[in-house]
Symmetry: C2
Subunit: 307 residues, 2 copies
């Protein structure tokens, strides 16, 4: 089934001890779409400027991604520039230019309205709510956010997650949003705000999904997926969106929301997030084969399952 993603498409500058990349295709919708494209059809709603070329758009189309919802407008595309340290958790933001993204008003093309799966990428939570309200027929809605929105628009974010299926954030964001250093208490506080499930990503330690009681008939316990220990994290940019793409892309590809589908989705999320950081920008997400994805999935199983 098709999945609709709303988020940013960006042209980024990225530096890390492993190299440098200028005007590299990035943004939450890009990483999500490329990752999810290995599992299902993806439809993108975003906005870009004059500097977004046919070559950029061809990257999406080559992966079968529907770009009819990418609005072209006058001005420059959203731009982020960051520098990672030896420790990839250390990131210095060098520049942020909202450009055409500043006035982004997501427009859902009529042909996208029947999307049963929706991912609300990291944008203003008011816009996330608006999109969610336009997609009332959706079967499963995921949402990501950013420390900026948690810090500046917590009420709007609380409204945006009220009736979604899954919120997908990282440890720091969960603690910041719940105002609690303890992750389990943070998870319970966030679930009490409405989302049926909450995925908390722990970076190199994997990710955990927590559920509201009874949600998806999952059982009364969380589920944890691993991450592959890597000896080189070349570029962490987009890892969270690649995770979300694997997670939601797999769910959309299955069409049913059983506990086992959700567990496997967590594994595929970890698999895709791990691939994303192995090379710069979207590079690794462009060249994957299904055999590589399945091999990594099997490795995750061997890394976690008793005999």
């Amino acid at each position: 089934m098709s999945i609709l993603v709303v988020g940013s498409v960006a042209l980024d500058h990225i530096q890390s001890p492993y190299g440098k990349l200028l005007n590299s295709l990035g943004g939450s919708a890009t990483f999500f779409a490329l990752s999810a494209s290995y599992f299902t059809k993806v439809r993108v709603v975003a906005v870009v400027g004059d500097d977004f070329t046919d070559e950029h758009e061809a990257v999406f189309r080559k992966h079968g991604i529907d770009t009819a919802g990418i609005e072209h407008t006058t001005g420059k595309t959203f731009h982020w520039s960051g520098k990672y340290g030896e420790n990839p958790n250390d990131c210095e933001m060098l520049d942020l230019q909202m450009n055409v993204f500043e006035k982004f008003q997501p427009k859902i093309p009529p042909g996208y309205r029947d999307s049963e799966y929706v991912f609300l990428g990291n944008i203003n939570p008011q816009l996330q709510s608006e999109v969610r309200n336009q997609m009332r027929g959706a079967k499963f809605v995921g949402l990501d956010t950013h420390p900026f929105w948690i810090g500046t628009t917590p009420k709007e974010l609380t409204a945006a997650i009220h009736d979604i299926d899954v919120m997908i954030i990282n440890d720091g964001e969960a603690r910041q949003f719940a105002k609690d250093h303890n992750l389990l208490r943070s998870a319970n506080k966030i679930l009490a705000l409405g989302p049926k499930a909450l995925v908390i990503k722990h970076g190199e330690y994997g990710a955990t999904i927590f559920f509201q009681n009874g949600a998806f008939n999952f059982g009364n316990h969380p589920f944890r997926a691993p991450a592959l220990p890597l000896d080189e994290v070349r570029d962490p940019t987009g890892a969270g969106d690649a995770f979300a793409g694997g997670f939601l892309g797999y769910i959309a590809s299955q069409g049913t929301l059983t506990a086992d589908v959700l567990k496997r989705a967590m594994f595929y999320g970890g698999v895709m997030g791990g691939f994303a950081v192995e090379r710069f920008g979207v590079e690794r997400l462009l060249s994957l084969t299904w055999e590589e994805i399945e091999a990594r999935f099997q490795l995750f199983r061997e890394m976690t399952h008793l005999g």
Copy 2:
């Protein structure tokens, strides 16, 4: 099969936001022995002072732990005092009195020499090497250490781990010892020093075991065990030793070193480490039932295994 532990027996003062405990039975050998006692017979080599009473020793005996190797000498027992913050990773050491432990020279009673499983708890690495050399017939030797020894006696520690089976340390210790922020590279550097396997504990995120190529016929990948998300960590003291007790205690109870035994040992390590932090001091480790341990083990399986 019996397992021999060499380490500290202490009388600790512990504070956390959940309460306070004075002169509480503690130390690496104590936490290890109590934890391992649920799996196998344990023999303790340690030293205590005049303030270590019959009641203290009775705690060990009640769990079937052999205390013949606990040397009683004149003076006061090793004492540690610490205060944990709201975040249990924040710990302020208030006092440390080596007392009789300062001149500890581990003496292995003749009746202990046939121990096939050995755990070298956190003591001076030179003493760990001496014990290791006295136990040449051992089938499986584990070793823990502490940032103090990594910082002050790295050469002696390197010698001590040269021909052991498994080193068991935490993230921070692995990075400190390997001088590398990346955990996988740190693991590979440490394995290159000799130990056949390395367990790195990630606290609330579980633990990972890494292997030298071909060791224990494990296969060429690490294995990760979860930790149970807890909404209250009352007292983290001894969690690492309780993990080691579950890990090595289970291995000793099985008698064979298959990959599946090592995987299950990782789960039991996580189970016992998690129990330890739920109450103050050794309290939780005194009152466990086998049913509780097995239930937690099953929960770990449900938390990590695909359907």
